[in-house]
């Protein structure tokens, strides 16, 4: 009997070793370097808070992340809500339209947006040809372009999450509300919305946390002009070798993400959403 359990525990060892040596250790080293490089102490953090450039980057990151989160969650809820009310055929079409962007490389998506939004891009070209505008608009390599790209990246993910959550809601509750004389708007605000709150909270949490530390889309669609934390960290290690800045900023980012996730897990609604198995 004991032999069985020992073998089972042995099986967990290889992956655990990989996770400890190749994941936990390097991240702990980032934390350690932030208080030892170049010399022991909290000087790096003092510099971090006094650094005006870092301040601007943090403000940009918060601005983009909050805008992205609000737009993504609202838009995704509208789509997910529509999908669960569709006929089986239309639902298959809609899910296909969500799954293609969900699975396709983030780089392909960023590239599509650059092609569409740049000064000599598809959209500006079309608008100029039809005479709507006389000189090209700045649609990318700024806050607008980054936000469009981020919302486009996050939406399929949020839609699938909300769709799974909304599908689990018992429709008989709506029938009950209707048979008791509630009007459609009342059913939405008083029944659907409260029941969707766990899913909405989970989507908000994930989108916000992903946005805070996102590198690819902001870097490609911001092109150094709209600088967010991840790209700022990347510049510190690849061009200027400022390990003090990179590691202390990484530590702060990890701390913020950790606090958000920890706080979220304390809410029973979110815990329930996590325990409930996400579809697929």
């Amino acid at each position: 009997m004991r032999n069985f359990k020992r073998t089972a525990l042995l099986l967990t060892l290889p992956a655990s070793l990989v996770a400890i040596c190749l994941y936990a250790a390097p991240i702990l080293q980032v934390l350690a370097l932030s208080v030892t490089e170049p010399k022991p102490g909290l000087a790096n953090y003092q510099n971090l808070f006094a650094n005006a450039a870092v301040g601007r980057v943090v403000v940009t990151t918060l601005k983009v992340s909050i805008m992205t989160t609000v737009l993504t969650v609202v838009a995704s809820y509208i789509v997910a809500f529509a999908i669960i009310h569709m006929s089986a055929g239309l639902r298959r079409v809609s899910l296909f339209l969500v799954l293609v962007p969900f699975w396709i490389s983030v780089l392909v998506r960023a590239f599509s947006w650059i092609t569409i939004l740049r000064r000599r891009g598809v959209l500006n070209g079309a608008l100029m040809e039809t005479g709507v505008i006389s000189s090209p608009l700045d649609l990318v390599y700024n806050l607008l372009g980054v936000t469009i790209g981020m919302v486009h990246y996050m939406m399929p993910f949020a839609i699938l999450l909300l769709y799974a959550n909304l599908s689990d809601i018992d429709r008989r509750i709506m029938q009950a509300a209707r048979s008791l004389g509630a009007r459609p708007a009342t059913i939405f605000w008083r029944v659907w919305l409260p029941l969707s709150l766990p899913g909405l909270a989970l989507a908000t949490l994930f989108v916000f946390v992903f946005s805070l530390g996102f590198l690819v889309t902001p870097a490609l669609l911001g092109a150094g002009k709209t600088l967010m934390i991840a790209e700022y960290i990347s510049v510190q290690i690849s061009s200027t070798s400022r390990w003090d800045l990179a590691t202390s900023l990484s530590t702060m980012l990890l701390l913020v993400v950790g606090i958000i996730v920890f706080a979220a897990m304390r809410s029973p609604a979110l815990r329930a959403a996590f325990v409930a198995r996400p579809q697929q």
Binding site: A8, L9, V30, V79, F81, V106, A110, A185
Partner: protein
């Protein structure tokens, strides 16, 4: 009489279709750009041309070597991550207790912790172990990033498995490894296959950490695309994007066909 669902009231439904269009249509722009007859990023001017797809097959242009590099790394990553993931998920399922739960949290954390933080840590570690810009270094990092997916996929399969099957095998005298190999494994094969596929895709697409731990020697496809996007001139970029788009669409269609056939068989 069935009352009309409120979504039929119109505006929300129209809005939903517009948003679905916003998700899908912009990606299609890569197709006309890939067919341009010019040698810079543009829509076709005086007709279409397949020259940029031909460039993808030209070894010296670098796209083909990058595709092979990525495919090789993704295969190695999928094999290792699946083996580690199966062993872990099955062991944790059979043993239970605090150690597997703790390790599960650690193994899943790459899904939440921003990859940029991991990238900073791995640059330091690989520099010390001289594994920067090496195939081994990239495969190991991709394994760590793919493990959450394999563990989740296999864990989902295991949660449908009846514990009494294991008890029956053990009471009949099967040795532990026999139970794992001959009783549990055959029952979770769909989960294992799903995990392997997810690990392959995760590695094939990985860019954030790869960007920091590779240089001239190991150029994965995403890395090659990244550089090309920053230059923003070569239409071959649109051609590779089109190829990736077609592969994604075909894979999704194949999946829905397989699912439909399975449903019919039931």
């Amino acid at each position: 009489m069935r009352p009309r669902p409120i979504i039929e009231v119109g505006l929300p439904r129209i809005l939903a279709w517009c948003l679905l269009g916003f998700l899908f249509v912009p990606i299609l722009v890569v197709i006309p750009v890939a067919l341009t007859d010019r040698d810079y990023l543009s829509l076709p001017q005086d007709g279409i041309s397949l020259q940029h797809f031909a460039a993808l097959a030209d070894w010296s242009k670098g796209w083909l070597p990058s595709m092979l590099t990525s495919a090789g790394i993704a295969l190695a990553c999928a094999a290792i991550a699946t083996a580690l993931g199966v062993a872990f998920a099955v062991g944790a399922w059979a043993a239970g207790g605090w150690w597997p739960s703790l390790m599960r949290i650690l193994l899943l954390s790459p899904m939440i912790v921003p990859p940029i933080i991991y990238a900073v840590g791995m640059v330091k570690l690989w520099a010390r172990l001289s594994l920067l810009d090496s195939y081994t270094g990239v495969v190991l990092v991709h394994v760590v990033l793919a493990l959450p997916l394999t563990v989740l996929a296999i864990g989902a399969s295991l949660s449908n498995l009846d514990q009494r099957l294991v008890q029956a095998a053990r009471s009949l005298g099967a040795r532990p490894m026999t139970v794992f190999g001959k009783v549990i494994l055959p029952n979770i094969l769909p989960g294992v296959a799903a995990g392997a596929l997810l690990a392959f895709v995760a590695s094939w697409d990985e860019i954030t950490v790869t960007l920091f731990i590779t240089g001239r020697a190991v150029v994965t496809l995403p890395r090659r695309i990244w550089t090309s996007i920053q230059d923003a001139v070569d239409p071959a970029l649109a051609a590779i994007a089109t190829v990736l788009l077609v592969i994604t669409v075909l894979a999704l269609i194949a999946r829905s066909l397989i699912e439909r056939r399975q449903r019919q068989r039931l």
